[in-house]
Structures are given as structure tokens and as C-alpha cells.
Symmetry: C2
Subunit: 236 residues, 2 copies
Amino acid sequence: MGSKAIVLVSGGMDSAVALAEARAAGCACHALSFDYGQRHRHELAAARRVAEAGGAIDQRVVVLDLRAVGGSALTSDVLVPKDRPHAAIGAGVPVTYVPARNTIFLAVALGLAEVVGARDLYVGVNALDYSGYPDCRPEFLRAFEALARVATVAGAEHGAEFRVRAPLLTLTKADIVRRGRALGVDFALTHTCYDPRVDAGRVLACGRCDACRLRLKGFAEAGERDPIPYAPGFSP
Amino acid sequence: MGSKAIVLVSGGMDSAVALAEARAAGCACHALSFDYGQRHRHELAAARRVAEAGGAIDQRVVVLDLRAVGGSALTSDVLVPKDRPHAAIGAGVPVTYVPARNTIFLAVALGLAEVVGARDLYVGVNALDYSGYPDCRPEFLRAFEALARVATVAGAEHGAEFRVRAPLLTLTKADIVRRGRALGVDFALTHTCYDPRVDAGRVLACGRCDACRLRLKGFAEAGERDPIPYAPGFSP
């Protein structure tokens, strides 16, 4: 077993693949998830399943209620857009953008890294499918590494170098599906939908929000069938 | 009234003076406080008093429970040290250090700045009295500004420059007492102690933890009397 890593595990397919990549690189993985006032609690249940199935040695759930900050459809009362064409999904910053979310999550990951002695921070961010998020770009990740060097005792006093590992950064969603399959990720455990419903105890993805549409497009382009259930009447 | 600012208000004397500085600079101030699993809830009550008395136009309290991360006497079960000589307080990183705390708090402040359109982030950090905290140094603040440029929509798409303002950075605690007096800060509203007790509804500072000892030394050196009550039998 190699070095220790903190892996941000949201319960989505990207973070499940990021965890698998960290394990494949030989890291002992501490999963870190956030209870941040999401509309859908199913995401946290998925994060627990993904961390456990993905071989994390432990999982911490940090309560971080960003609703007092607002500004996003994921944490306030803005409507989640539906049925948008793929060209619109990739253009500009979506209303589901949580301001500075990756900065906040990575900052907490950095704190945990100091506590457990980890140097690698794995994140499932992706610059291609979500080009509108400024904090999903390589220059953001490098700037965070520069900050980590001076923000920590390990960096400032012992010269430790923290690395933000974003193995999915330049992959398409189809690439992520293929890479996950190759690494043995069980996508049935993951949750993606921004607006799910529950029917007879089963969580059904809407199939129509931006996140569902990107996910379904990825599976279709990879020639795979998405194993999670969708709302009745919805046909991809 | 000039530009908008986010001011991190903990309820301590430093953040009260930082808020007064932001107001003196003409800023419309949004106070931001954290409910982060502190041992002492009195700190949050003080933060509310300080924000209101200091003229903030609103205050947000973000729930951020860092106990799952641990690693500090302020958020876990490590004992708060008492009666340490001042030479020891200034040397090395104290056990009350919360890993990456300023990084985390500034990241949330940055998110709020995006939402309300603020560009200045005011923090009461101080490099002299607490030389042991890596995230209280100028190089940390500059690295955070560099990160903010690339982490936000305002920075990445509209060229906005965020500034971390740390007006107390090079002041001694005595300087901070004097500056606060000059700006009309009511130090009776502030809370500093790491280990307070409540007696007949009054919050009494212990006078013996590192934070109390620095505070009392500052008032003594400024030739002022600290207006908050201390535990019976304790004499500064």
C-alpha cells in the first residue's frame, strides 16, 4: 500500500471512478463526503455505498449547510432546468453551480489531509462535460496546490507538497463510463439526478435534468446500458 | 457607501476590529460566521452581538461541523492548555490549531462574495501573536487571492480581483486594543476564552487559556482594563 489519499466522494459516477483510480494508484483512501443541504438526501446514501464498495478505509461526512450562502439550484429554491439540449448544457455556468463549491470541499479535504497525513487529494472534477464551472479547470487545481503549500503546517514547516489529482479532468462522460467499467466500478450504486423521486422505496432518476442527460449520453456513447432505474414513462 | 465586503466575524476582539476597519473603509459589510462545532456556543452569541453593534447589513451563520475532521482542541477532546508562559504561546503550532481553518472559512466567504457581488474579504487574522498558525501569514493571503481569481465566475469570466484584507496582520494585541478603541469597538460584546464557564447566566472567561492570556496581555500593554468578566478568584 502506497501513500494516503483523501477522496471526495459525492455518490456520483465521477467520484466513484475517482476513488477507483486512487485505489488503482495504490493509495490508502479516506473518503470525504458533505452533507451540505442537498435537495436530495439520496446522494449521501449513494456516497456511503460508493465509499464502502470502492474500498475506502473510512468515510467522514462533514455537515456543511451552505443554504445560508444560497445562489444555486442545488441548495436553494431555484428551479432545476429540464430537457435542455446538450449544446445548452455545456455552455456557460449552469444554475446548479454552487459558488466556490470545489474550493470549499478541497479546503476541508486539505484539513483532513493534515490530520491523517495524506498528500494526495482526489477529486472527480471534469472539465469537458461541465465547461461552465470555473473550479473544474486545471488552473484552479494548480492554484489550490500552491495555496496548500502555504496554508498547512506540513507544507509551511516541513515542505510537504499536496497534489490535487483529477484523473477524469479531460475525459468525456463516455470515457468515464469505460474507465469505470475497466476498474470494476459498480455504477448501479451511484446517484446523479438533481431531481429524483422515490417510488415504493426505489430512487428513480428523472432522466431530464442536466445531470441525468449528461449521464445517459455518456452511457449511450460508451455503448453501455445505465443500470440505475429511471422514472416510469421516461425513455432515454 | 463604497464597495461590498464579506467580513468573517467570530465574536472575538480581532474580528470585531476587522469589521470596524471594513466599515471605516466605507464598505457595506456582510458578516459571515460559522457554527463549526465549537466547544463554546458563547462564541456564536458574541458573533451576533458584534455583527449587529458593528453595523453589518446582514449576518449569515453557516453550519460547518468539522468534528468529523478532528485534530484540534477546539473541536475534539484534546485538553485546552492552561497557564502557559507567553514565550510558549508564541512558539510552534498550538493544539488549538484547526487544520486549514482559515482556508475553509475564506472559501465559504468567497462563495458568499460571488452571490452578493462583494470583492473584499475581511479577516481578523494576526501574524504576530499567533506566529504558529501557517494560515495567518501574508503568503497564505496572497495565495488565496490568486486562487480566488481562477475559482470564481466573477474572476475567471469577468476579470474580478478579490482581495483578502487583513488589517490586523502586523498589529500586536495591544495595537488591536488601541485601534479598536479609536474605531469605537465595544470590547464588552466580544468573546475570546477557549474554556469559559457560565455562572448565574454570565459567561466568565477562564483567564488561563492561551487566548485569555494573549487578550489580557494586550489590554495590559495598552494600559486599558478588559471589560469582560473573568472567573472568580482569577486575577490578571
